[in-house]
């Protein structure tokens, strides 16, 4: 293993990086059900978690996996599950529960093509909208999308930090390409990695109000088995955590759980721009497609076309304002993604202009050439 200060350089896959980063982030409970192309995350963790005193359990299905990680999180362990398309669909019910009961958990979806069993071994980015709207009701969502193995490591840690800080389920939307890609990664020194833990109550048990309206909209948590006897429910509840039918209290709850992400969205939203200052054409991309977009941009620049890249790392909340701001300067937006235009639709809403789409839904990656062709077509 090469050493670089206290960093180490390794070759690993996105799935391995995700599993290792989760342990570094403090994850000590994993429950999952195998599904291609995510299974390596479970496999690595079944070996690694016992080594660090954590718990690995292969549950009977994804619904159970999601339920178990919520239970474990409420008992004090940072918890995670990993799945792909059909399994992600099964998890929706309990993802909703985690939103409602404000339980920090991380859900990895290594995307494959769908609907249904779809394309088990092939990549896709078609669960972007399922991540946003998969479960019923009004609830906030944080979803991140890494492009490289390095990103996967970093964004897995950040996903835990977000979930802990805001007490929300956080979704890591990988895709098969990133999950199975073997590439170089610099693993930072453990001291360099910022790790955030959930806000724990400092109130004594008799004063503890589980969903207290605090100034920052994020109520501090207590854990089961620590002398705090409180109730958690998926029903609409008041500050005390018990079901309520009082319209005022119901309204307050829904608005707060949505507001707590809305008001911190500037801390959450993350994108990177490249060569946008003088650009006339802007590529908007994410996940593995952004890799091809970047390459296409370089080739287009080499032939004198003014094109830049807006790469989205946090898909939800969506960077509407940033896109709207640049839209005055940009003549055309091109959105390459492995679906039929899920993020393109959001870009259109944000910029109020029609985007050029580059889509593939045949299980093959979008090549830089395909994007380049669109760039050339637009620039004439």
């Amino acid at each position: 293993m090469a050493q670089l200060n206290n960093r180490s350089i390794k070759i690993m896959t996105g799935n391995e990086a995700c599993a290792e980063a989760a342990i570094v982030a403090g994850m000590r409970f994993f429950a999952g059900y195998p599904i291609t192309p995510s299974s390596e995350i479970a496999e690595v963790l079944s070996k690694r978690l016992p080594e660090v005193g954590g718990v690995f359990i292969q549950m009977e299905d994804e619904i159970a996996s999601m339920g178990a990680i919520i239970g474990a999180s409420l008992s004090g362990l940072k918890s995670m599950t990993a799945t792909s398309g059909p399994g992600f669909s099964l998890m929706q019910e309990n993802i909703g529960y985690a939103s409602m009961a404000e339980v920090p958990v991380v859900v990895v979806n290594v995307q494959r093509g769908g609907p249904s069993t779809g394309l088990p071994t092939l990549p896709s980015q078609a669960d972007v909208m399922q991540a946003r709207w998969g479960t019923h009701g009004d609830h906030p969502v944080i979803a991140v999308s890494p492009s490289t193995v390095q990103d996967t490591y970093e964004w897995t840690v950040k996903a835990f930090n977000f979930s802990e800080k805001y007490r929300v389920p956080v979704i890591i939307l990988m895709d098969e390409i990133v999950g199975h890609l073997n590439e170089k990664i610099v693993i930072p020194d453990a001291n360099e990695i910022e790790i955030i833990n959930r806000p724990i109550t400092t109130d004594p048990p008799e004063k503890y109000i589980p969903y207290k309206l605090t100034e920052n909209d994020i109520p501090p948590i207590a854990h089961y088995g620590t002398g705090y006897r409180f109730n958690v429910t998926g029903l609409s509840h008041d500050e005390t955590g018990f079901p309520t039918n009082d319209p005022k209290k119901i309204d307050a709850l829904y608005r707060r759980i949505n507001r707590k992400i809305e008001r911190y969205k500037n801390e959450i939203i993350f994108y990177k721009t490249e060569l946008l200052d003088d650009a006339e054409i802007c590529l908007v991309s994410y996940g593995s497609s952004a890799r091809s977009a970047k390459r296409a941009m370089r080739e287009a620049r080499a032939s004198g076309i003014k094109v830049g890249l807006f790469q989205i790392y946090v898909l939800w909340p969506f960077p509407c304002e940033a896109l709207r701001e640049i839209s005055n300067r940009i003549k055309k937006f091109i959105v390459p993604e492995m679906n039929l235009g899920q993020i393109a639709h959001e870009v259109e809403c944000a910029t109020r202009t029609e985007c050029i789409k580059v889509n593939r839904v045949d299980g093959s990656p979008i090549t830089p050439q395909e994007i380049l062709e669109k760039i050339k077509y637009v620039s004439v």
Partner: protein, 272 residues
């Protein structure tokens, strides 16, 4: 009088259950069992799904978790594995545990995870208005079986035994005094334990099937129950239509948390 108040969240009353419902009888038996087993309130976590029976934890002053329909055992698995010192009790209905939650039920039994499942079997979906359940007996009426159920029903206790539970007992709401002793045994048993309690739902099971009021239904339980010891001496024919009550199954099997701890010890020693 037993100090129920010590365990209740008094401000959550009145409860939502119908007059004559069996849910309260089981809830009280559970509290007596916890007291007899000398388990501290802070050390108990009660997890439920959705249904009339699943509303029980809301009234009780423990660590309580009210989850989705059918999912209580899945959530409870996480709670238990993350905090093995907790006594985890799952309160569930027949629909909750054996229809939508059937998969979690049999797998928790198979793993022999240390938890006690108290299953209120009222043969019907109470909360949603009396639809047919996997335990509605053949021919009985329900709001979705207006001509009588055409499906055979589950014997939940046998199901749990077959799946690997280490302790299984059955009782009824009539046998309230026996019930707390059975629950106590289950709580003290290491491994997956099930207490199946036949509970009257006079509103949605009793009425369409003309079984009378709650008292009539309790009388039925009284007159048609036979202790396991007696049942053993009877032929299948003689047992037909009878409810066998008592401890049906009590064996020793490796428990999941203990096995996992052994694995941790092994792996961590190897790496230190």
């Amino acid at each position: 009088m037993f100090p129920y108040k010590k365990y209740l969240r008094l401000d959550k009353f009145p409860h939502i259950w119908c007059t004559g419902c069996g849910c309260g009888i089981i809830m009280k038996a559970m509290l007596r069992a916890i007291e007899r087993a000398k388990i501290q309130k802070d050390d108990v976590a009660i997890v439920s799904g959705i249904g009339c029976s699943s509303r029980t934890p809301g009234y009780l002053d423990f660590n309580t978790l009210h989850t989705h329909h059918g999912r209580a055992i899945a959530f409870a698995t996480g709670v238990k594995l993350a905090k093995p010192k907790l006594k985890v009790i799952v309160v569930t209905g027949d629909g909750d545990a054996t229809a939508i939650g059937g998969n979690h039920f049999i797998h928790a039994a198979r793993r022999n995870l240390d938890m006690t499942v108290i299953l209120y079997n009222n043969h019907i979906y109470g909360m949603t208005g009396g639809q047919v359940s996997p335990t509605t007996p053949f021919g009985k009426r329900a709001s979705t079986a207006p001509y009588g159920s055409t499906e055979p029903d589950f014997d939940i206790s046998i199901l749990a035994i077959a799946a690997g539970a280490s302790f299984v007992a059955r009782s009824t709401c009539y046998h309230a005094t026996q019930l707390d002793k059975l629950i106590e045994k289950a709580l003290l048993k290491k491994g997956f334990s099930l207490i199946e309690v036949l509970a009257q739902c006079p509103t949605y099971y009793g009425r369409p099937n003309r079984l009378g009021n709650a008292v009539d239904m309790l009388r039925y339980y009284k007159e048609n129950s036979i202790p396991v010891e007696t049942a053993k001496k009877l032929s299948e024919e003689e047992k037909k239509g009878k409810i066998t009550i008592g401890v049906l199954h009590d064996i020793e099997r490796p428990e999941f948390c203990e096995e996992y701890q052994k694995l941790l010890d092994r792996v961590q020693i190897k790496h230190s």
